[in-house]
């Protein structure tokens, strides 16, 4: 059953470049549109099953991906340090590398399902602990940025489409495309130079990195964190809102020719109301799907922004793990990032029929 509506979501997702924003021609799946009231539980079950299969696939991929390393993982881990044969044997036993591959795999899956992602080489601590430590910080940063760039993108996108071809539209589309082409880490570094380090007339306005200066308690602490949050969020919003803008713009352009808009105008509705009450709600449906499908890009942005601003989140942790490289930690974080995107997409799929006003009326 999931195979019926999946292609539509994915086809919409196919438009994950700014250029192909309209190429996917996202139309709500026939399933979701014509969903009979009682069919929702079945739809949910199908979606959840699909998500479970995807998660399993991620698990399998992450296992075999990290077995692709040419040579011995222990040598990789110890680097150029001279290690005795006994030490290598100890390491191999510790990380279960002396077992046959299939047994390593079943062990790995069993442990992963019980929430054990191994031990970090670098921190000598369970990977899960490092992840749960960093997760709230990432959620704070990503959540704030996500809400802001979605709101900004949809707001500007729908307005651009409504007056498409006009000066405002061309300016906004051009700016969005330009910002979309800018590497997020570079923008972050520039912002640090200009606003944190300070160029001559301007003093440093924001901290160069981290999440808190320490010491403060209570409300002062909240203000401090917010102060640290400004630049990372600005960077993320700047590089990500363009995509939302283009997606919502082309979704609304698709609706522009609709007869129902002519009817609404013929009723004598103000232009503003035609847009807000009639056109935008219809354009929002495909936009929502696309925003969630494009979350993968946001994850990449978060990793870079956290790295540049030394934000103590999952992305910063990922960078630390990469530079060693601390394979269990990289593996665990890879799983978390992929799982997060899959779960968010499933959530979007589940909410989709509820948002569609044509369903359940």
């Amino acid at each position: 059953m999931s195979s019926v509506s999946r292609p539509t979501t994915a086809e919409a997702g196919a438009a994950n470049g700014p250029g192909s924003a309209g190429a996917g021609r996202p139309s709500p799946s026939p399933r979701a549109r014509g969903l009979p009231v009682g069919a929702y539980p079945r739809y949910v079950a199908g979606r959840l099953a699909g998500a479970a299969v995807s998660l399993l696939a991620v698990l399998v991929t992450s296992f075999f991906l990290f077995r692709m390393i040419p040579g011995d993982p222990v040598k990789f881990m110890t680097g150029r340090r001279p290690v005795s044969a006994e030490q290598i044997a100890v390491y191999r036993r510790e990380f279960g590398l002396d077992l046959p591959l299939w047994q390593q795999f079943t062990d790995y899956c069993g442990k992963a399902l019980t929430g054990d992602l191994g031990t970090s080489y670098q921190f000598r601590a369970p990977v899960v602990d490092k992840i749960t430590e960093a997760l709230p910080n990432t959620l704070l940063l990503t959540g704030t940025a996500f809400v802001l760039y979605t709101a900004l993108g949809v707001f500007l996108g729908t307005r651009s489409a409504w007056r498409h071809g006009g000066l405002g539209d061309r300016l906004h589309t051009g700016l969005a495309l330009t910002l979309y082409s800018i590497p997020s880490f570079w923008l972050g570094l520039l912002l640090i130079i200009v606003l944190s380090v300070g160029v001559d007339p301007i003093p440093g306005l924001f901290p160069t990195g981290g999440m808190e200066s320490g010491r403060e308690e209570g409300f002062a602490h909240v203000v401090d964190v917010a102060h640290h949050l400004v630049l990372p969020v600005v960077t993320l919003v700047a590089v990500e809102y363009g995509q939302t803008l283009l997606v919502s713009r082309s979704a609304l352009l698709d609706e522009m020719g609709g007869d129902y808009l002519t009817t609404a105008r013929a009723k004598g509705l103000r232009d503003d109301l035609v847009r807000r009450r009639h056109a935008v709600p219809n354009a929002l449906l495909p936009t929502v799907t696309l925003i969630f499908v494009n979350l993968g890009r946001t994850v990449a942005g978060v990793i870079l922004v956290e790295t540049v601003f030394s934000w103590p989140g999952l992305g910063g942790l990922f960078y630390q793990a990469l530079s060693v490289p601390d394979l269990p930690l990289v593996q665990g974080l890879f799983f978390v990032f992929a799982a997060a995107v899959i779960l968010m997409n499933t959530l979007a799929d589940l909410l989709y029929p509820l948002f569609d006003p044509r369903v359940g009326r």
């Binding site: 997702g13 250029g19 992929a338």
Partner: protein, 325 residues
């Protein structure tokens, strides 16, 4: 580039046109080959006329030509010894001056030279990665559209799965576990970015295969290979090339990102690598903007130029889209 695609798609119809009664051969009928060539030229001209109307696309094309020219002529203008650390011409971290227009890096190498030299790697990796990605995507898209049944189902499930995966994270992991080289970077970007193309190509393949002339080809004994290579491929080529232009721009960004994260080939200079060097040399805290700004501008301009071209090609091929005008 795109001209060839349109040529390709027309060659099929051109060849058919000579056989069918509504063939618009005017005057003395030339041979089928000459006729096909004539049609191709007309299509290219028509495409170019349409393309020219998209000012952003023309601007992108001009910028690209300039970049490619500069990159190709780099051995003549700056010479391959700009990369050499041992006999660097200047002092470490000099600010821009008459001698070094963009200053020098921490080894005293001329940054303008490095920037021009680095453009070669960025463009090359972008092109190769996009070529790999589009090849995989087109192959899977065409076969999944042509062979229905379980093969298509399995392929599309895999495509969907790749589609929601955080592409760059996957590429980072691949680049981490494989050896450090440009080939790895190309591979990592190529095998993670193909699903978009596969989706689009499959949809187009399904549309093409439902046309009567495919049925005719089958009736005349055309096999799978004949239909896919002679009829479907030329028809999806324009789409594939528009897609390539767009993927090049994200591949260039991805290359810069991987290099910045320290996963690039340490032996070659690329724009992303320059940014990583700049960060490691402490140019952020010391405010050495002239070290940081130019590589980023380069990346952004090239990526933007490819995006603008891709959008213009897309708009020409599918005017209903209403993008990029």
């Amino acid at each position: 580039m795109t001209a060839e695609a349109t040529e390709g798609s027309e060659s099929t119809t051109g060849a058919e046109g000579t056989e069918s009664p509504e063939s618009p051969a005017k005057g003395a009928a030339p041979g089928p080959r000459a006729l096909a060539r004539q049609r191709r030229r007309a299509t290219v001209a028509r495409f170019w006329n349409e393309y020219r109307r998209h000012r952003a696309g023309v601007f992108g094309l001009a910028a690209l030509s300039l970049f490619v020219l500069v990159a190709l002529s780099a051995p003549l203008t700056v010479g391959s010894d700009v990369e050499s650390v041992t006999n660097a011409p200047g002092q470490p971290l000099e600010s821009p001056s008459g001698r070094f227009l963009l200053g020098t890096d921490q080894f005293g190498r001329d940054l303008l030279g490095l920037l021009i030299w680095g453009s070669r790697v960025s463009l090359l990796v972008g092109l190769l990665a996009a070529a790999l990605s589009v090849t995989i995507g087109a192959l899977i898209g065409i076969t999944a559209g042509h062979f229905r049944g379980w093969y298509a189902t399995v392929m599309m499930r895999i495509t969907d799965w790749f589609l929601v995966m955080p592409t760059l994270v996957l590429a980072i992991v691949l680049a981490t576990v494989l050896s450090r080289s440009l080939g790895t970077i190309v591979l990592a970007i190529g095998v993670t970015t193909w699903p978009t193309t596969a989706r689009l190509v499959r949809a187009q393949t399904l549309a093409v295969e439902s046309r009567p002339y495919i049925e005719r080809a089958k009736a005349l004994g055309g096999g799978h290979w004949h239909i896919m290579s002679r009829h479907v491929l030329p028809n999806v080529m324009p789409l594939v090339l528009a897609q390539t232009t767009l993927i090049i721009s994200s591949a260039i960004l991805a290359e810069a990102t991987l290099a910045f994260l320290g996963l690039g080939d340490p032996a070659v200079v690329s724009w992303g690598g320059l940014l990583q060097d700049a960060r490691e040399a402490g140019s952020v805290s010391s405010g050495d903007w002239w070290y940081l700004v130019p590589p980023g501008v380069g990346i952004a301009l090239v990526a933007l130029a490819f995006t603008l071209c891709g959008r213009a090609v897309e708009a020409v091929l599918n005017p209903r889209l209403g993008v990029s005008r």
